[in-house]
């Protein structure tokens, strides 16, 4: 059984079943952004939205894995002082990968990228029923010890325009499209 079939066994939610798991598919690379082409200061409201369903909240906690009942049991969460099911703090990862499929911010999917660490701020709890919109801005890029760093500031808003959270998304990326295409073929293409 191939790796895609292995993962398909765990796909339960509507979003998981409809999302393409093949990040090496050649055609989608044409929609990506590459480190050496990205202009700093560009801001985009991402056209794809994320409607938060209970199954999304539960599935994220299962995948951490985190068995805390505040993520699974609405009545328990209310007894703890919340107004409903609680989303795991890192639930934003699912939201960002769902909406940043192509164009601005899509470099988070890049084969060959490395995660040096992240900064996340939470402003208001994500609730079941929220319809989330992501605004993203190319914030900074730099070279350090031969590595090419990319940082975007992504903000999540609900359907009422309320700020839910901010993520300073940072990765070390292959420098160019040519380097990403080498990774697609399974070759190593990092300078450091």
């Amino acid at each position: 059984m191939g790796y895609l079939e292995e993962m398909a066994k765990y796909q339960k939610t509507e979003k998981q079943k409809s999302f393409s798991a093949d990040f090496l598919e050649r055609q989608q690379i044409e929609d990506y952004e590459f480190w050496d082409e990205i202009e700093i200061g560009k801001e985009t409201v991402i056209p794809f939205k994320f409607e938060v369903k209970a199954e999304d909240v539960i599935a994220y906690a299962e995948g951490v894995p985190d068995a805390n009942p505040v993520f699974y049991d609405e009545e328990y969460a209310k007894k703890c002082g919340y107004d409903g099911l609680v989303a795991h703090p890192m639930f934003a990862t699912q939201v960002l990968f769902f909406v940043l499929k192509k164009g601005h911010g899509s470099w988070i999917r890049t084969p060959g990228s490395r995660n040096p660490g992240q900064i996340i701020e939470w402003h208001d709890p994500i609730r079941v029923g929220d319809v989330l919109t992501v605004k993203t801005k190319s914030h900074d890029k730099w070279i350090k010890r031969g590595k090419y760093y990319m940082r975007y500031l992504s903000e999540m808003y609900d359907q009422n325009g309320k700020l839910k959270g901010r993520c300073f998304m940072t990765l070390v990326l292959p420098r160019s499209k040519a380097d990403v295409l080498r990774f697609i073929k399974g070759e190593h293409a990092l300078e450091a």
Binding site: Y3, E6, M7, Y10, Q11, K15, Q16, F19, A21, D22, F23, L24, A59, Y60, E62, G63, V64, P65, D66, N68, V70, C80, G81, Y82, V86, H88, P89, M90, T93, Q94, F97, F98, I108, R109, T110, P111, G112, S113, R114, N115, P116, G117, Q118, I119, I120, E121, W122, P125, F183, G186, E187, H188, L190
Partner: protein, 145 residues
Amino acid sequence: MAKRLTFEWVNCGDVLPEVKQHVSQEVIWKHAVASLDYNPVHTHPEWCKTAQVFGLPLPVMHGNQTMSLMATVITNWAFPVGGRLKRMEVKLIKPVPVGSSCTYGAAVTEKHPIGKRENFVVLDLWVMNQDGEKVAVGTAQVILP
């Protein structure tokens, strides 16, 4: 009877209960499905043999899964009493390849009594692998009732 966790009750130096996780390929695949991050460096063992993004021929755990488990140390501690995570900053130091076993910990370093429903503590966070090496460090701000 155990004391209920409150901002008043917490002291600098308090150590939170640890979380432990063995990192199998299945654990990583489940996180890939949950997060929708299907990057082959995590999910595709054959590709990793030649691409060696981290200089290793093995898939590695998602950095954001490491961060999620660091957050779990906090949610286990503070969420049953209505606590809230306000900010987290993490530096990922070493890759966590398939087969690793990690321990996730935290300790209180600061108290900020700035007002009811806004009082928060600062935590130091760390992750150690099975060889006792730190693979991630960070800080978090947590609002407590």
